[in-house]
Every structure is written in C-alpha cells, then in structure tokens.
C-alpha cells in the first residue's frame, strides 16, 4: 500500500476528531473508535515495515503535498523518512497504544467519569504525535510533533486528581524549557545550513565541514540538552516520578513506556542521522562527560527507587534509571552499545508497559499500590501477577525476557569501549532491581507482613480468609492486554535475533567502532 | 523626504514611550499601569503605520493597525472588569446575609 506511512497517523488523527465530536452525544462510542483507529494505525505501521524491508536502501520517504524529490529540491515539502529504526520504534509506539487502548475501557470510565471523549481525543493525539516523531524527517516538524505529544501528555496526566494536576505543572515547565531549547537549536542549525530537512542538514554538514563551526556546536548542545530534559535524564528528571505516579492508570500506562523512549530515539536520530557520527562523537566533551553523568543518574535513580514504598513511584524511578542505561549506551560510543540502546528502547517499552498495566490492575483490585496492600495477591490474581513478574524479570534482566538481551548488548558495549564505570553501575542497578522486585515478590507471592511475620499458619492457607483466597482476577478487558504485553516481552526476547538483525542493518550505514581487542 | 520624516516621527515616539514605560514600572496603582499600556498600544498602531511607510507597504501594515485599534481596548476592559466588578468574598457574604434578612 503506497500511502501506508500517511495512514499511520491519519487513523488516530481522524479518530480523535471523531471522539471529540461524536463523544458529545454518545460517550460510549469513544472506546471502540480509539481501539479501531489504533488497530488501523498498527496495520499501517506493519504495512510500512514491510515496505521498508522490501526496498534496497531500507528507507522509504514520503513527501507531503506532493513536493517530490525529483521535481523539487529536498526540503521544500515536509518529508516523512521511515528507516528501519524509525519504523521499529513507531511499531512499538503503536503496539503500546493498541494494548493500552484495549485496556483503557474500565479505568477511564471509573477514574475520569464524564470525560471519556476528551480522554480519548487526547490519547489518540498523543499516539499521533509520538508516531510522527518517530517517522518525521524534518527538524522543525519534529518540534511541532514533540509539542503535540507534550501537550497531550500534560492534559492526559492532569485529567485525573488534583495532585496529578499539581504534578503536571513541573512537567509543563521543564517540558517547555526542553522544547524551547530544542527549537533554539533547530534555529541555529537553520542559520548555518539553510534547510530543515534532516537528510539535507546532514548532507550540508558533511559537504561544508561544519563540524568546527561554533554555531553548530552550540546548536548541538541546545538540541541535546533539550532532548535530555524531555527524556527525564538525571538532573532534569524531577518532573517524571510525580507526574507518572499521580497520573490516571491509563495515562501512565501509555506515557511511561513510550514517551521517554521516543525521546531517546530522537537523540539517537539526531546523533546518527542529523549531526552524523563524526560530528557528534568527535567532541570529547560529550563522550567523556555524559557516561559519567549516566553513572550518577543510574545510581541516584536506583537509590531513589529503593526508597519508594509505592509501586508506581518505584516504577517511575526505574524509568529514570533505564533512561540512564540507554543514554549511556549511546554515548559510550560503539556499535554494541548502540545496538543495546536501540534494543533497550524497544524492550524497555514492552516491559514498562507490562509493569504499568499490572500496577493498574493491582490498583484496581487492592485499591492501593502501596507495598503493604500487596500481600497474598498472588493467590487472588495469579495471571495478573504472572504477567507483572515477567515484566519485573525483564527489568532485572533474566533470560529469556527481552530485558536480558538488551542488557547483554549494553554490557557488551561497555566492555568494548572499556567503560568499566558504566558496567559497574549497570551491575549495581541490576542488583537494586533484584532487591526491588524480589521484595515485592515476597509480599505478593508469600503472604508475609511488613514485620516478616508469617500470616499463614504454615499449613493449608495463606493467612487469608476464604473470601480472599478465591480467584479474583481483574476484568478481561484489562487482563488480556497485560497478558499480551507479557507475551510480547517473551516473544521479543526469544526472537531478539530478528530485531537485532534489523538494527544491525540500520547501523551498518554508520561508521561505528566495534572495538579491536584488548586480549 | 517622507522617509526621513517617518524615521524622525518613529524615533520621537520611541523616546516618548520611555516615560510611559516608566509609568508602567512605577505604578502605583494597576490603573496607572493599564493606562500606560493602553497608550503604548495605540502608539504601536501608529508605529506600525510608520514602519509601513518605511517599507513603502503601508497597505500591508495598516491591517495590523486596524487589528490593534480593534483589539487594544480588550486588555483595558479586562483589567477594569477584574478590578471594578469584583468584590471580596467577605463583602459578598455580607450582602447575601443582608438579602436573607430582607426576605
């Protein structure tokens, strides 16, 4: 299908408009619209992937407005530039969107009564924005789409409680600063190159040797810092835990897996495709300083996560730590690290989705996400907890979940670059995650109280009444997406070779060091 | 000739704007500030026409001037509405109490 790239965002865009308009008269219609448009969008994404794989250079570009490359100079129209990396991340975004939209029926009705049309409008536009970010080939269009994603994000988070609204404020301020810095950077790029098209920018940088230009250096810093703020990298992470933990269930399920990951994708994109490997990595400042910042980031986030007694807050800090992983994977500057980073973007999206979906179900059943409310939950909802644990194992990095493989490549990358501090910190945070999740597993799986007292008598029951031990799974509309997500975690892990080989095809265009052995 | 005159007018307006901006900063009441803003707003319309003269495209710039003329007083009305038509909650309670007593 020729226009499949366009269909990727046409479906949710029109879906959101339909939600807004039709939702006024009939609220019930929004849920099917959302699910259908996400499904259509995912279909278009898969179609595009097929298209990308079928062409020789593995890139499909789509010129909006018919300003084709053969008749007009590049950059006249806006280009969607789907390479393998872009379409992979798009598929992740769309997949997460579909699962979350399936999941959303009950939580949305219960947590934001009367606001379903607005919620789904924002939801679909969020997905539109994120998918667009992954595909766009135009630096300014990227900014617009970042704004689309960010604004809907603010709305989706603040739609819940008053606390969520207060938390959104921090997010809004930092997000706006980040986007503004990015915009400034793009402006500087335009001053020196005269084009906004990413391919065009790269060509001009290479052709005119702009690597030494002070303007370009500053533009790189501005764009980089802007994106780092947006992805909640360590010193700028303050907005994330509050926002995600206070947000409504569906919102955190959608935002937590994809938003930060998509921004990391933008960083990879900027570093590799726009500024180019030579430009980005030759300035020693970034490659030397950032991994150390990553070290601090991961340690702080992991320690903060340890201190949390509430699932969603803990997961939010884990996201900050994971962002550290991925940024580190990029800036240790080698082939394996980048594979690890990109694969971790994908796998982290899957496993974070899994965990947040699980947390939503726990919240719904136990009425709390505090650790104290968890005891004995396994007996009540074994399927939910299995799904949740698969996500947890993946974050820890146990095979055969996808988390193991991404961590493997990241460690390998650290090994190749001989960034021992990065590796040590990866180990450290892995151990922290082991502690975190097995602490939870203890409570969930074994009915033990906070003081360690066995609530069961050791014989027969688990210290719970008959009422409690009866199977009490969440509703199917929420359970099935969770199980699907955990299945995806396993499938991506098992078929990681296919994904990695795609990433390798993408990375083969770039001249990255693979490490010539210390023995 | 007209250009030089326009430049002269523009610079004169800018210089005369300084005391007005001083009034915005100094206050003391919000009304003073709003008054000064209003003055600056109308003068902006004039300056737009002046810039239009310099570009020799007054027909283009005059549209902005119209927009300013039409919309400039919105902010004045908003501020006056904010300050004028509002009473503090205590007063309102007193009023409502009075109404209750009457009825």
């Amino acid at each position: 299908m020729e226009n499949s790239i366009a269909w990727i965002f046409i479906f949710p865009l029109f879906g959101s408009v339909a939600c807004a308009i039709l939702g006024i008269s009939n609220r019930k219609i929004c849920y099917p619209i959302a699910v259908l448009s996400m499904a259509g969008s995912l279909w278009a994404g898969i179609e595009t992937l097929r298209q990308v794989l079928s062409v020789n250079d593995h890139t499909v570009s789509y010129l909006f407005g018919g300003w084709t490359l053969d008749a007009y100079p590049r950059g006249v129209g806006i280009e969607f530039h789907a390479d393998i990396l872009g379409i992979l991340i798009t598929l992740v975004v769309l997949g997460v969107g579909l699962l979350v939209s399936l999941y959303s029926k009950l939580p949305v009705e219960e947590e934001t009564p009367g606001k379903e049309p607005l919620f789904y409008t924002l939801f679909l536009l969020q997905v539109t924005g994120l998918a667009g970010i992954c595909l766009t080939g135009d630096a300014f269009n990227l900014y617009v789409l970042i704004e689309v994603a960010a604004l809907t994000g603010y709305g989706l988070i603040a739609i819940g409680s008053n606390r969520a609204a207060a938390a959104t404020f921090n997010y809004l301020i930092l997000g706006t600063i980040g986007a503004s810095l990015y915009l400034l950077g793009v402006g500087y790029i335009y001053i020196k190159t005269g084009t906004l098209n990413m391919v065009g920018i790269h060509d001009i940088i290479v052709a005119e040797g702009l690597a030494d230009s002070a303007t370009m250096q500053v533009a790189f810093v501005l764009v980089g810092v802007g994106i780092l703020i947006k992805m909640a990298f360590f010193p700028f992470h303050a907005w994330l835990p509050n926002a995600y933990s206070n947000a409504p269930t569906t919102t955190s399920c959608l935002l937590a897996p994809v938003v930060t990951k998509v921004m990391i994708y933008v960083m990879i994109r900027m570093v590799l495709s726009v500024f180019g490997v030579e430009f980005s990595f030759e300035s020693t400042l970034w490659t030397d300083v950032l991994p150390w910042l990553v070290v601090v980031a991961i340690v702080c986030a992991a320690v903060m996560a340890l201190a949390q007694r509430e699932i969603k807050r803990m997961l939010s800090y884990l996201i900050v730590a994971e962002v550290g992983y991925m940024v580190g994977g990029v800036w240790i500057y080698n082939y394996y690290g980048l594979i690890g980073s990109i694969f971790h973007v994908i796998s982290d999206a899957c496993m974070t989705l899994c965990l947040f979906l699980g947390a939503g179900l726990i919240l719904r059943k136990a009425k709390t996400t505090h650790f104290d409310g968890l005891r004995g939950l396994f007996t009540k909802m074994p399927l939910t907890m299995t799904g949740f644990f698969i996500g947890g194992f993946s974050i820890i990095g146990l095979p055969p979940t996808c988390g193991f493989f991404s961590k493997w490549y990241l460690i390998t990358g650290g090994m190749v670059s001989q960034r021992w501090e990065y590796m040590i910190v990866l180990m450290f945070s892995t151990m922290v995650m082991v502690v975190l999740f097995f602490r939870m597993i203890e409570r969930i799986h074994l009915a033990v109280s906070e003081s360690g007292e066995n609530l069961g008598h050791g014989h027969g029951d688990l210290g719970l009444t008959d009422q409690q031990t009866r199977f009490d799974e969440g509703p199917l509309s929420m359970l099935i997406p969770l199980l699907l997500a955990s299945a995806v975690v396993l499938v991506v892990g098992i078929y990681n070779q296919e994904v990695v080989s795609l990433i390798e095809v993408f990375l083969s265009d770039f001249n990255l060091p693979r490490g010539e052995g210390i023995k | 000739m007209t250009e030089y005159f326009a430049i002269f007018m523009g610079v004169a307006l800018f210089i005369l704007m300084i005391p007005v901006i001083y009034r915005i900063g100094a206050g003391p009441t919000p009304f003073d500030r709003m008054l000064a803003v209003n003055v600056i707003g109308t003068k902006t319309a004039v300056l737009l026409v002046i810039i239009g003269t310099l570009f020799d495209r007054v027909d283009m710039f005059v549209d902005f001037a119209i927009a300013y003329a039409l919309l400039n007083f919105v902010s004045a009305i908003v501020v006056s509405r904010y300050l004028n038509r509002t009473i503090s909650l205590d007063e309102m309670e007193a009023k409502e109490n009075a109404k209750k007593i009457k009825s």
Partner: protein
C-alpha cells in the same frame, strides 16, 4: 538606517519590559507588562520584515494573551510568592 535605529529602541524597551515583568510581584501587573512586551515584539517582527509573524503577534498579543492571563489570575491569588 531608520530601521536600525528602531531596532535599537525596540530591543532596549524589550529588555526593560522583560525585566519589569520578572520583577513585579503583582501577577496582574506582570500580565499587563506582558501586553507591552508583546506590542514591542510585534513591532520588532514588523521592523524585521516578518509581517505574518507580526500580524499573529498583534492579534494574539493585543486580543487574547492578556485576557487569558487575567482570566487565569482571576482564579488565583494575585500576589506571586516570589
């Protein structure tokens, strides 16, 4: 030459307006000062020849932004805490 002169004045006044907006504690005043700021921005755009931007700034600055800001302050405390 004339435009350069204008430029200097506008930029000077812009800085003054921006600092004023930062300094005042009264949010109402701050939003009023923002109105001035947007007038000056409009002039700056116009002076630079970016007429469409200037027009947008004119309509938004004069018509909407002050109103929306004050409508928001209406529901908040008027004094800023810092």
């Amino acid at each position: 030459m004339g435009l350069a002169l204008f430029n200097t004045f506008i930029l000077l006044l812009l800085v003054v307006a921006a600092l004023l907006a930062l300094r005042v504690k009264d949010l109402l005043t701050a939003s009023v000062v923002f109105a001035v700021y947007s007038f000056l921005m409009c002039l700056l755009w116009a002076e630079m020849g970016a007429v469409d931007v200037a027009f947008t700034e004119a309509t938004v600055g004069a018509g909407i932004s002050t109103v929306v800001l004050i409508a928001t302050i209406f529901n908040l405390k008027r004094k800023s805490s810092d």
